[in-house]
């Protein structure tokens, strides 16, 4: 709520103002009727009272606009700031966090829970203040008209508030039940649609329809229970107003006849009592809102209080220009209960080209992901230019690494913007050059707007291979000292691969290059190849050496030759 106390205070004051104008109207009405009954004692004529009422109405309206906008805007502003904070937090969280959370869950918290909190801080606060102001003022005015009548009329109110509170509690329960039923219904549909082939293969269409009907039924029932409770609110509301009016008609009417109360007082009393009905009902609703808002705030707190495992070093070491020497010292890494890397010892000289092969799950990708600290280094050490990675400023190491991830991710922006993502403010020439090395030139000429073609849902759908090459260009434009390619050409055909590889070899220069691949062809020009198995290095050497060794690498090589032979048949 930081810095918003002022807004809330102003809003509260404005609310008092608008309600005072509103409350003045029944009072003026009282005076007007009294003046009509006994014109002699009257201060003003009915017409003048009419004018005063109109003036009060206009003033109430004007202040109303300001009070509502002040408070509701404050709610929106807080929502804005909270969203800002949440996003800022998300930006610092690491891969471990995101793989434990479903994107849908995070998004729903940022949408639904944030809305609940905003409702509480905007509309909830507004209604609460409104209720308090109207209650206090009305009670004072009512007492001024007739203390006895007030006590009679207000007597049932606490009971009403209690009943509404009870009802809103069961409303909360039933609404939860309804939500759960809807969730079941949704799951049912999702499964049926995803498993359409299974359903058809086993002729289960009729059975599916039947069981879907049952799920719909239970949802309908829950919804009807909800409708019933909501409907029950109506008699309660009516009763609140009715008892008051009954008291006025009977007791008040009596008092007027006996001359203890003026007709004007009678009318005004009726007016004030009518004003109280709604805030009384509102009480229960606000309670509900507070409950929901608090629950949502807790869920948001789970994001705000999350902390990443990969953090900035407390005492960072300035590495100067990172040159790209990498050394793993008995580095291990576990993910959940799965050991991904086991005691890796590996020294990579700057400017060397290293190939990494192994089957799925052997730890290839994990090995390279340690370098830009996508995963935390906790067990063992990783040195860059002889400095402990954990002591390098995050920004510096990430600026020095050009990383082409296995799962290509592009933004829904233009191709040029996606490439320039690697280097903010890159010139058109730089972008074109990077695109050319990555083998995109040919594809670009076929796109409607070349480099300015929009990618994604609203633009052109790129093929897997095209996406990979944009992702490569994005890493290249960064001019990194360490270039990491994690299976970058898996979706590219052999000829294109050949072309890109030769263009890339001209780019490598002094850079340290790590290429992860499940195929051997991209590793041809590597100085050294590392074979990983179950998180350990099992073979290491040049292509020729490894072939001669006749182990894993040689086996993979044979397989690939066979494949090629089959392809040629």
């Amino acid at each position: 709520m930081r810095n918003r106390w002022g807004a809330y205070l102003l809003g509260a004051l404005l609310l008092v103002g608008t309600n005072l104008c509103g409350l003045a109207i029944p009072w003026l009405l009282k005076l007007a009727i009294e003046s009509l009954q006994s014109p002699a004692k009257a201060g003003y004529t009915p017409a003048q009272y009419g004018g005063l009422i109109a003036a009060a109405a206009v003033a109430q309206g004007i202040i109303r606009v300001f009070s509502r906008t002040t408070l509701l805007n404050a709610g929106r502003r807080i929502e804005y700031e909270l969203r800002e904070d949440l996003y800022a937090k998300l930006l610092t969280l690491d891969r471990t966090y995101f793989s434990n959370w479903r994107t849908g869950d995070i998004l729903s918290r940022l949408a639904n829970d944030l809305t609940n909190v905003r409702m509480l801080l905007g509309f909830g606060v507004l209604s609460l203040l409104n209720t308090v102001v109207i209650y206090t003022a009305s009670l004072i005015l009512l007492t001024r008209i007739s203390p006895f009548l007030t006590i009679c009329a207000v007597l049932p109110f606490p009971v009403m508030i209690l009943i509404v509170k009870q009802m809103s509690a069961s409303m909360f329960r039933v609404s939860k039940r309804t939500q759960e039923a809807l969730a079941r219904l949704t799951t049912r549909v999702e499964e049926n649609v995803s498993a359409a082939a299974v359903v058809r293969a086993y002729c289960r269409e009729e059975g599916e329809i039947e069981s879907f009907g049952a799920v719909c039924d239970s949802y309908s029932d829950a919804s009807m229970a909800m409708a019933k409770i909501r409907g029950m609110m109506l008699p309660v509301m009516a009763a609140t107003g009715a008892i008051g009016t009954l008291v006025i008609l009977f007791v008040g009417g009596n008092q007027v006849i006996r001359g203890e109360l003026t007709l004007g007082g009678f009318v005004a009393f009726n007016g004030y009592l009518a004003m109280l009905v709604w805030p009384t009902i509102m009480f229960g609703w606000i309670l509900n809102l507070v409950q929901r808002g608090a629950a949502s705030m807790t869920r948001l707190g789970e994001i705000l209080n999350a902390y990443p495992e990969v953090v900035e070093p407390e005492q960072p070491v300035d590495p100067g220009e990172i040159e790209g020497e990498i050394e793993y010292r008995s580095l291990s890494f576990s993910y959940g209960s799965a050991e991904m890397l086991r005691g890796i010892d590996l020294k990579i000289a700057r400017g060397s080209r290293i190939g990494i092969v192994g089957v799925v799950g052997s730890g290839k990708s994990t090995l390279v992901r340690m370098i830009p600290r996508l995963f935390p280094v906790a067990d063992g050490t990783l040195l860059i230019d002889g400095i402990d990675l954990n002591r390098l400023p995050l920004q510096r190491i990430r600026a020095a690494v050009g990383f082409v991830p296995q799962e290509t991710f592009l933004f829904s922006r233009t191709i040029a913007e996606n490439i320039a993502y690697g280097k903010p403010g890159a010139t058109r020439e730089e972008i074109e050059r990077a695109a050319k090395i990555a083998g995109l030139s040919g594809d670009l000429t076929r796109f409607p707007q070349g480099l300015d073609t929009l990618v994604g849902e609203r633009g052109v759908t790129l093929s897997g291979g095209q996406k990979q090459r944009v992702s490569i260009a994005r890493a290249l434009i960064k001019e990194p000292s360490i270039l990491i390619l994690d299976d970058p050409l898996s979706a590219v055909d052999a000829d294109t691969e050949e072309e890109i590889l030769s263009a890339l070899s001209g780019y490598y220069g002094k850079r340290t290059v790590l290429i992860v691949s499940h195929r051997l062809s991209p590793l041809r020009n590597c100085d050294r190849i590392i074979v990983l198995e179950q998180g350990s290095i099992v073979e290491e050497g040049s292509h020729a050496e490894l072939l001669e060794l006749g182990g894993r690498y040689a086996a993979i090589h044979r397989e690939e030759q066979l494949k090629a032979e089959i392809e040629r048949l």
Binding site: I25, L29, L36, P46, Y49, G50, I53, A54, A56, A57, V58, Q60, G61, V65, R68, R76, Y80, E84, Y87, L90, L91, L93, F98, A111, V189, E191, V193, S194, A197, V198, A201, Y202, C203, R204, G207, I209, E210, C216, S220, S223, M224, A227, G231, L234, A238, A239, A242, L249, G253, I257, L263, N270, L374, Q395, R398, F409, F411, S412, Y421, K563
Partner: protein
């Protein structure tokens, strides 16, 4: 750079569309009695609303002003009775409307779901799951809202408004006309504000879409953002979108507050007019005090339904858009393939396949079949295969070579484009789908598990299969691990079977095939490598599964091809080689190489 502006304005639909409503009425008709009852309650509710100020008028004029106590208690009792009557009638009306609404929602939902069950496999290839889910959930929910707060309530509001106007005119024409002088302003405000609000709302929705799209993308690509040190830029862009969203909301808040305030003030101004003009009338003796008070109360009741008119308006708008989408899906008739009349399709079928119309399966023939998922991109090009009763045929070849397609065509998940598939000489297109599919048990490569119990996952709710659940589990050896579970066959399977190992999931899907006791088994072996324990489980399961059935298997296991009676090698959509393992190995052709590549362990 601005990245967030890619989402266009959401189009805002009509509030009332005769064509859509006409079609929608058909769903309401079965419940017309309930609906009529609810509609009949409306005048009663309106009357009880209108009676209340009138009672106050009578109380003031006949009793309070005249100082007559007698009759006042009775009047008070009448007032109480009317208020309770109103609330009970309201409750009944709300309940009836909800009931009808829920029934209609139920009917549409089940109809839509049933319709989806009859759509072709291709339809599912092209339609995202999410869009179908929202058709069946959120779009139908909006229809429910229309019942709860839409059309019928508006009719009730109009009745009340008309009643108030009538009574006021009847009580005092001139005072009514003076009071109604605020109405043109009110109507102008209601329409003008609605227009401005709609524009403002449209902007809010567009910017909200931008914000959510950006957020979703950013969370999905967080690793890239961090790898490229772009946190600060992303935060900046997010702040811009966030701010523009909040800014778009502010006018909505202002318009809304203004509308609220104007309606509230106008209603008080109307009261002021009543006092000004009515006061004069009272002095002249042409108006009673009671009428003055009743006028004031009527005018207050007049304004309250006008206040939430805009909310009802947007509900109707949403309902029309949803109806449009729902009907569009219902009109999609990309149905499952139809059954051909028994006739000519059989001609040109090889002799071997035409014989024996006996009950038990004798032969399956694939005759020169061609098939493409897309355009002319043929996956199968003139593939032929004959299978005899009890035979076990293994399909091998490279990924993407068309093996799985062959199995899909047999159960008519897709139809062949040229050629034919016959069972005992009858083209499968001439068999009713359930008849065909009942004979074939399919085990997909990725065993799909539903949320529900294990027993449900094996039987899929089929009563016949349910009887054979335990027996089927025993045949494939799944009974051992199931018995060890806390709840046995009633153990809950969580979403997609995450609480079971890959091997266990496979076994459950094997048991499913056995429980349906098909003559023909179509099996697509999983390619993914599993741990050795799972591998052993699957191995044993497979033996039980294939026992005594005519089996077509897409093979990825050494044991499977060794046990096969015949192996068919598919290469680029054509049959390249055929024979037993020994024969094909001896030939040293394609199979020989594939064997070394795929089955080396």
């Amino acid at each position: 750079m601005h990245f967030g502006g890619i989402y266009e304005d959401e189009t805002v639909g009509k509030v009332y569309d005769r064509r859509l409503m006409g079609r929608f009425i058909a769903y309401v008709l079965p419940y017309r009695r309930m609906l009529t009852t609810a509609l009949l309650l409306l005048p009663l509710i309106a009357a009880s609303k209108l009676a209340q100020p009138w009672i106050i008028k009578v109380a003031i004029d006949e009793h309070i002003v005249k100082g007559r106590m007698e009759g006042l208690p009775a009047l008070a009792a009448a007032f109480l009775a009317i208020i309770f009557a109103e609330s009970i009638l309201m409750f009944a009306q709300v309940y009836l409307l909800q009931w009808v609404g829920q029934r209609v929602m139920y009917d549409i939902r089940v109809q839509l779901f049933s319709h989806i069950q009859r759509l072709s496999t291709r339809f599912f290839d092209q339609t995202p799951v999410g869009s179908l889910v929202s058709r069946l959930t959120s779009d139908i929910e909006v229809l429910g809202e229309m019942f709860a707060a839409g059309i019928v309530t508006v009719v009730g509001d109009i009745l009340v408004l008309a009643g108030i106007v009538g009574i006021m005119l009847w009580m005092n024409v001139r005072l009514s006309l003076v009071t109604f002088s605020v109405l043109p302003v009110l109507i102008w405000v209601a329409f003008a504000f609605r227009k401005w609000m709609r524009l403002a709302f449209r902007q809010v929705r567009a910017r909200q879409a931008n914000l959510s799209a950006f957020l979703a993308e950013s969370i999905g690509g967080m690793a890239v953002v961090q790898l490229f040190n772009r946190e600060r830029d992303e935060a900046k862009e997010f702040r811009r979108l966030n701010a523009s969203y909040v800014e778009a909301n502010l006018p909505v808040i202002t318009w809304d507050a203004a509308l609220y305030a104007v309606v509230e003030s106008l209603s008080s101004v109307a009261v002021a007019l009543i006092i000004w003009y009515g006061g004069g009338e009272i002095v002249k003796g042409t108006l009673s005090f009671g009428s003055l008070v009743a006028f004031i109360q009527y005018i207050e009741k007049f304004f309250s339904p006008i206040r939430d008119l805009s909310a009802k308006y947007s509900i109707m708008q949403g309902a029309m858009a949803s109806l449009e989408r729902i009907f569009a899906l219902l009109d999609n008739d990309d149905r499952e393939p139809a059954v051909l009349p028994a006739s000519e399709a059989a001609k040109g079928t090889p002799q071997a396949c035409q014989a024996s119309p006996a009950q038990a399966l004798q032969s399956i023939c694939f005759n020169d079949i061609w098939f493409a998922y897309k355009d002319r991109d043929y996956v199968l090009k003139g593939f032929s295969l004959q299978m005899k009763r009890g035979e076990k045929v293994a399909l091998v070849g490279e990924t993407g070579g068309g093996k799985t397609t062959v199995t899909r065509l047999l159960s008519r998940l897709y139809d062949v484009e040229r050629g034919s598939i016959t069972i005992d000489g009858t083209d499968i297109r001439e068999l009713p789908l359930p008849v065909l599919r009942r004979r074939i048990g399919v085990v997909l490569q990725d065993p799909y598990l539903f949320s529900g119990t294990i027993a449900y996952n094996i039987s899929l709710g089929d009563p016949e299969a349910l009887k054979r659940v335990e027996q089927a589990a025993a045949v494939v050896g799944a009974d051992r691990f199931i018995r060890e579970l806390k709840n046995g066959y009633d153990e809950e399977v969580r979403e997609r079977g995450v609480n079971f190992s890959a091997g266990e999931r496979q076994l459950i899907s094997f048991a499913r095939a056995v429980a349906f006791n098909p003559e023909i088994l179509v099996l697509d072996e999983a390619t993914a490598s599993v741990d050795t324990a799972s591998e052993r489980l699957i191995q044993q399961g497979l033996e039980g599964l294939m026992q005594g059935r005519t089996t077509l298997v897409v093979a990825h296991r050494l044991s499977t091809i060794r046990d096969a009676d015949r192996i068919v090698v598919i290469h680029h959509g054509e049959k390249a080689e055929e024979g037993t393992h020994a024969e094909l190995m001896a030939a040293q052709g394609l199979y020989y190489r594939l064997y070394q590549l795929q089955f080396k362990d």
